[in-house]
Each structure stands twice: as structure tokens, then as C-alpha cells.
């Protein structure tokens, strides 16, 4: 018990120290090495962030981007998991759908931005489409890999314990693939951040990416850095929350231990 408490303290301490060093190095680089308005030190960026937060602008942009990510991510997972399970379970389905997955996974979501905007407009439609697109293939591939990785003896054992094929799927293949599914979802979440910013940079009327693009037009370097800082923080927090949720709710199925 005591040692696990110590481990936890060391872990958190390490994190704080690591992040603190990031800011210290940033400060030294900006103030003493570069010394240009084009590379603001952390203090200025934080002050700017407080200003933007007070005026409500920052919160609004965060909300817009996160809503797009979460909607697309949820839809993409809901489509990807059953498709992945079907691909992993049935050779016919795999042969039918593999051309799609093997073809589209080499076309990055960022390459689809223009098409998405032409099809779904500059608003929410194109963004959610892109997040679904970036999510669905990773989730499919990981889910299918999970079903494929079930050791044959697990299935043989179930069959000779009297399980039907449907029961083998429900009680063996499905639970055995949960860690793979969750890993796929976590990777997809990371990709969603990349995709949403790229999409908002190119064509959007709101969001963190739009905020960066607008700031570029008026040379508001501080504001660009605020957006970058927020992005890093959001990505980190979302991933930690996801890990925590997996660990807490998935328990025995958890890929993170």
C-alpha cells in the first residue's frame, strides 16, 4: 500500500517537474535566446489566455472544436466497432470490406478537407464528417485485429464446453477484443485533434483552428500561442480522461494497467 502511494507521488511529481521544465526552457528561449515579438514568453501567453478567457472568446472556441471532435468520434466509433467485429469474424465480410479499409486508410483526413467542404459546407457537417472519417478506419482495423488475435484454444474450449457459434462470439471473441477496441479508440481520439485543427485552419467559421488562422492575419502571435497551449492541454487532458475511464470502467478488459 505504502509503496503504491510512493509510486503515485513519484509519478505525479515527475509530471509536474517535466511540465515545469518545459515552461522554464520556453521562458529562457523566448527571453534570452530569441528575444523577438514573434516568440512570446510563457508569461505573456498566459496573460493573453486569461484575457481571452475573461472575454469568453476562448471558451467558445474550445467548446466548438471539442463538440465537433466528440460528436465525430462517437459516431465513428459506433460505426467502426460493429464493422470491425464483422470483418474479424467473417472471412467473406473481410474480403468484401478490406478493399475499402486498405484503400481509404492511406488517404489522410486532411486530404479530404476540400472534398468535405464542397460536399457538406463550411459549418458543422464537414467537420463531423472529417472526424468520423479519421476515427472509423483506425477503430475498424484495431477491432478486427482484436477479434483475429483471440487464441484458437479459447474458441475451442468454449465450443467443447457447449457454446454455440453465436455464444462464442458474444462471450469469447467480444470480451477478448475489448482492449484492442479501446486502444483503437484512443488512437482515433489523438487523430481527431490533428484533423479538426487542420480542417478549421482551412475552412471554418469558428473553432481553435480558426482562431489560429485569424490571429495569423493580424499578426497576433500571443493569440496563436494561446491556441497551441490550449490544444496541447486539451489533448493531454482528453487522453488522460480516456485512460482513466478505460481503467475504471473496463477493469479486466483494460489495455492500460
Amino acid at each position: 500500500m505504502r509503496s503504491s502511494w510512493r509510486e503515485r507521488a513519484a509519478q505525479i511529481g515527475g509530471y509536474i517537474l517535466g511540465f515545469a521544465s518545459l515552461f522554464v526552457i520556453w521562458h529562457i528561449a523566448a527571453t534570452y535566446l530569441v528575444g523577438s515579438v514573434l516568440f512570446p514568453p510563457p508569461t505573456r501567453v498566459v496573460l493573453k489566455a486569461i484575457e481571452l478567457a475573461r472575454s469568453g472568446v476562448l471558451g467558445e472556441q474550445i467548446l466548438v472544436s471539442m463538440r465537433r471532435i466528440l460528436t465525430g468520434f462517437a459516431c465513428g466509433s459506433l460505426i467502426g466497432i460493429p464493422v470491425g467485429l464483422a470483418i474479424g469474424s467473417f472471412a467473406t465480410v473481410r474480403r468484401l470490406l478490406e478493399p475499402y479499409t486498405e484503400f481509404f486508410r492511406f488517404i489522410p483526413a486532411t486530404a479530404m478537407i476540400t472534398v468535405a467542404v464542397i460536399w457538406f459546407g463550411i459549418g458543422e457537417g464537414s467537420k463531423i464528417f472529417l472526424i468520423i472519417y479519421t476515427t472509423v478506419f483506425i477503430v475498424i482495423l484495431n477491432t478486427a485485429a482484436g477479434v483475429g488475435a483471440v487464441t484458437p484454444n479459447k474458441i475451442r474450449a468454449a465450443r467443447s464446453l457447449g457454446a454455440s457459434r453465436a455464444q462464442v462470439f458474444l462471450y469469447v471473441a467480444l470480451p477478448a477484443s475489448v482492449p484492442y477496441i479501446l486502444t483503437g479508440m484512443r488512437l482515433a481520439m489523438g487523430n481527431s485533434f490533428v484533423t479538426i485543427i487542420a480542417a478549421e485552419l482551412i475552412a471554418a467559421n469558428a473553432g481553435l483552428g480558426k482562431m489560429i488562422w485569424d490571429a495569423r492575419l493580424y499578426m497576433l502571435v500571443d493569440q496563436i500561442f494561446v491556441a497551441l497551449l490550449v490544444l496541447g492541454g486539451l489533448g493531454f487532458t482528453t487522453d488522460r480522461l480516456f485512460r482513466w475511464a478505460i481503467y475504471t470502467f473496463a477493469g479486466r478488459y483494460s489495455p492500460v494497467t
Binding site: 487464441t151 484454444n153 479459447k154 475451442r156 474450449a157 468454449a158 465450443r159 467443447s160 464446453l161 457447449g162 457454446a163 454455440s164 455464444q167 462471450y171 469469447v172 470480451p175 477478448a176 475489448v178 479486466r252 478488459y253
Partner: protein, 263 residues
Amino acid sequence: MPAPLVRFAGVNKVYRSLQSGDYVALRDFDLDIAAGELFCLLGTSGCGKTTVLNMVAGFEVASGGIIEIAGRAVNGPGADRGVVFQGDDSLYPWLTALGNVEFGLKMRGVPRRDRDTQARRFLELVGLHGQEAKHPPELSGGMKQRIQIARVLVNEPDILLMDEPFAALDAQTRAVMQQELVKIWAATGKTVLFITHDIDEAVTLATRIGVMQAGPASRIKGIIDVDLGPDERDRTNDRFVAVYRQVHAMIHDEVAIAMRRSA
């Protein structure tokens, strides 16, 4: 002799492969196992003994010949034949020991309370009282094999198929598990088909030992009756040593052939 519970008559098994050509594992394989026997199938590695077990289990299909259980042709796996695998990769790590043991009952739709009671009874039988809530990764190799045995026994199969179940255990644990298996076999009266490459293990456990030829195109070379009492199943016992020598003499040439073929 009454009608055999397991019957192989003229069974062939050919593995087809485009790369390396066809491989004949078994040719004209005959074997009868009576109800209530603890039959050890002994052979060198690659002789096809696991193939025999997999065909009884219904995991693999014979290329020709007859395989019958209680007079009926084998058609896929079924709960009448419980399988204990060599490794622990057949256990479900997301379930507790209890969850693993009651798996078969759950598949059959036995109500939760009944299957809980039965699973606990069989966990106790294999000496795992108090370990119900643990998950397989938390248990030792010996305990995991005990879960496998309990999981099969609770399902009340006619035959236990055991594929070198103790081969991955350390020598002390293996000896204990062998004793427990004999006890369980005596208590339940189940028919057991036990695969091993270990002469000592075969003589310790078996009522009869079937020695297989070295592969390919293997068949039974000979069958030895092991007429030893429980207190004679001991390496230092003269009658045990006599049976051991008899089995050893029969398998000795096959080991040499297998060595030459794999070299």
C-alpha cells in the same frame, strides 16, 4: 469386452499444404477405449498424438475412416467431451476463477444460483477453495490447470481429453497434479484420454498405455496393460519399474527414428 466408448477404425489424417506438399499424420489408425479407462496415449513429438485427441474433440476432421463416440460418429466439438489444454491460453482472463468454471453451465442456460453452487463445489474438488474471485493471471500454473479441470468436470462430460496438461508445470507441482487427477478419476469414474510423451507420467496414471509409432503415417505400435495398485504407482516400486521397462523397450526405437527424421 463391452462396446468401446471411443473407437477409431482405419482412420487416416492428411494435412494438405500447397507449399510443402501433403503430410500424412495418421494411416490406418485403430484404437478402442472402454468407458471408465484412464488411457494414456504415449508418443514422441510429431507422432500425431495431439491429432488423435483433436479428432476425438471434434476440432479436426479425419480424412478417412471411422471415429465414433458411444457408437455415434463425431460431428464437431461438444460438451460430452471436455478438453484440458496444455497451456493456459484457453482460460478467459477477463473472468474470475468462478466465472471460468461456470462458463459451460452459463452456455447451457443454468440459472445463476445453481451454476454458482456447482462451480464452487468443483473448485473445492480441485483444491481451489478461497480462490473463486481471483482472475487467471493472478494464479500459478498449477492453479490454472486446476481451473481447467474444474471447468471441464462441472460440465459433466462423458470423456476427459487431456493434452499434456501438466507438461508446462514444474516437477513437484506435476507430481501433485498427477495424484489429484487419479483421485478425481477414481471418484468420478470418468473416461480419460491422456496425451503425454513422458513414460513416467503414463505409468503413474494409466490403466492402459497406447504407444504410438514415430510419425509420419503413424499408428498404434502396441498397447500395454498397467495392472498396478495405487500403492504400487511409485518409481521405486519393482512392479512399476517392470512396466516402465516394458514401455521403454517399445518406444525406444520410435524415439531413435523420430530423432533421425527431425535431425
